[in-house]
């Protein structure tokens, strides 16, 4: 059983034929060449596969591709030229918030969504927004510092 699924990916209309048991993570990585979306835990715990669905961060590892028919998906590839992401990337580098880098796209996408939603950038709010992203290298402090500085710089 194949299902035709059409959605907007980073501003462009795409249509894919998928089996109902295919997850969005696989559609993005294997069919559409989107490699910023990382395969981490595959069970909604680590945040490495975070994408924006109609502007809100979600895990692509626990979304069936059939669920996103008619919706809008954005990945890091689609937002990398925005001032918010440029600021996040440079502050991540400056603060040393990137070590192995595997979790970084997920963190940037989630932090971008937080900035876009206008969440007040207190340390508490930043921690709350990023609670669904795991980093096993940095200890988080540098990530929170980087996000705080990025928000200040785009104000």
């Amino acid at each position: 059983m194949y299902v035709k699924v059409s959605f907007k990916l980073n501003g462009e209309d795409v249509t894919v034929d998928v089996e109902p048991n295919e997850i969005l993570l696989d559609t993005l990585r294997l069919k559409l060449g989107i490699k910023s979306v990382k395969r981490g835990c595959e069970r909604a715990e680590c945040g490495a596969c975070t994408v924006l669905l109609n502007g809100s961060p979600v895990y692509s590892c626990t979304l069936l591709t059939v669920q996103i028919d008619g919706k809008e998906v954005r990945t890091l590839e689609g937002i990398q030229d925005t001032p918010e992401v440029k600021a996040l990337v440079s502050k991540f580098v400056e603060a040393g918030a990137v070590q192995c880098g595997f979790c970084t796209p997920g963190f940037i996408v989630t932090a971008y969504a937080m900035i876009k939603k206008g969440v007040e950038p207190t340390s508490e709010n930043i921690k709350k927004a990023l609670e669904g992203n795991i980093c096993r290298c940095t200890g988080y402090k540098k990530i929170i510092d980087a996000v705080t500085k990025a928000i200040e710089s785009v104000k």
Partner: protein
């Protein structure tokens, strides 16, 4: 790829009527609301099903309505919408507080309140607040609608009072002004965590005596439970720290925790008593009473 989801047939409903048609004509199916539990359960083979009915697009079940004397929440309302809702924050803040502590932002953006209830995990965090708020669930099938009090909805782990051709339509919460309520959750860490135990309490005080007390806990029995013994002990008694401390110990009569990967039974028992006491104190604070 570590996980492979076994194949299934996919059906999508756009309206409640279509969904009821599907669930009354299909056998061996699971309903997908947000899928944040179901997709993982399919991956780890907790369930293997022939058919999946996707109801996530039924817009008519995604709402938060304030009727004055009650608040109604559509079954497909997302957890993040509940946490952010000015109606929920004002009328039933205890539910907003509980939902805010559930899962992560990414999951709350997809997961629904109906899914959390129908999945019937003993650790469902929407349950304790809805228990103490005396919420009613409106269930619907092609034969009609019926109402079930939330305390009668959970039968055992992963099993509810829903009949096979029935769907959860909405959650109805009576608005009781003058009550104080609070929710406390203990997990293995502070955020994005399952409950080791969570407690919700609600108190009503008249002339420094407990006029009404409701206590509910999750993760310490096969289903979320009310702590009736402790509630009865406090009703009519004077508001004092001694009485609250005594009552909190009585929750042990209504719980039967197990040891699992998150905590031992003994720890859960001890923490149930502590959290019940602390939650009662906090609920009193909400109506301006310090003990």
């Amino acid at each position: 790829m570590f996980y492979r989801i076994p194949k299934f047939n996919y059906y999508r409903a756009s309206t409640l009527d279509e969904a009821l048609d599907l669930v009354s004509s299909l056998n061996d199916f699971k309903v997908l609301a947000g899928g944040t539990d179901l997709v993982i359960d399919l991956k780890v083979r907790r369930y293997t099903v022939k058919n999946v009915v996707d109801i996530s697009r039924i817009k008519e079940l995604d709402y938060i309505a304030d009727d004055g004397d009650r608040v109604r929440i559509g079954a497909l309302t997302k957890l993040q919408s509940i946490a952010d809702s000015p109606i929920i924050r004002e009328k039933v803040p205890v539910l907003a507080n509980a939902v805010r502590e559930m899962a992560s932002w990414q999951i709350r953006n997809i997961a629904t309140i109906g899914g959390n209830l129908c999945n019937a995990s003993p650790a469902a965090d929407t349950a304790p607040p809805l228990y103490v708020l005396n919420a009613t669930l409106r269930l619907v099938s092609k034969e009609g609608e019926r109402e079930v009090p939330i305390a009668e909805f959970f039968l055992e782990p992963r099993k509810t009072a829903l009949r096979s051709k029935e769907l959860l339509k909405e959650i109805v919460i009576p608005h009781e002004p003058g009550c104080g309520a609070s929710f406390l959750k203990l997990g293995r860490r502070n955020s994005f965590t399952l409950s080791v135990v969570a407690v919700a309490t609600l108190v009503k005080v008249v002339e420094n005596k407990f006029a009404d007390v409701r206590i509910a806990l999750n993760s310490v029995a096969p289903t979320p439970v009310r702590a009736r013994k402790a509630e009865e002990y406090l009703k009519g008694k004077e508001v004092s720290l001694d009485n609250i401390t005594e009552a909190a110990k009585l929750v042990l009569h209504d719980i039967s925790p197990i040891s699992d990967v998150r905590a031992s039974a003994e720890y859960r028992k001890d923490m149930s008593v502590v959290l019940t006491r602390d939650s009662l104190i906090k609920s009193l604070e909400r109506i301006g009473i310090k003990v």
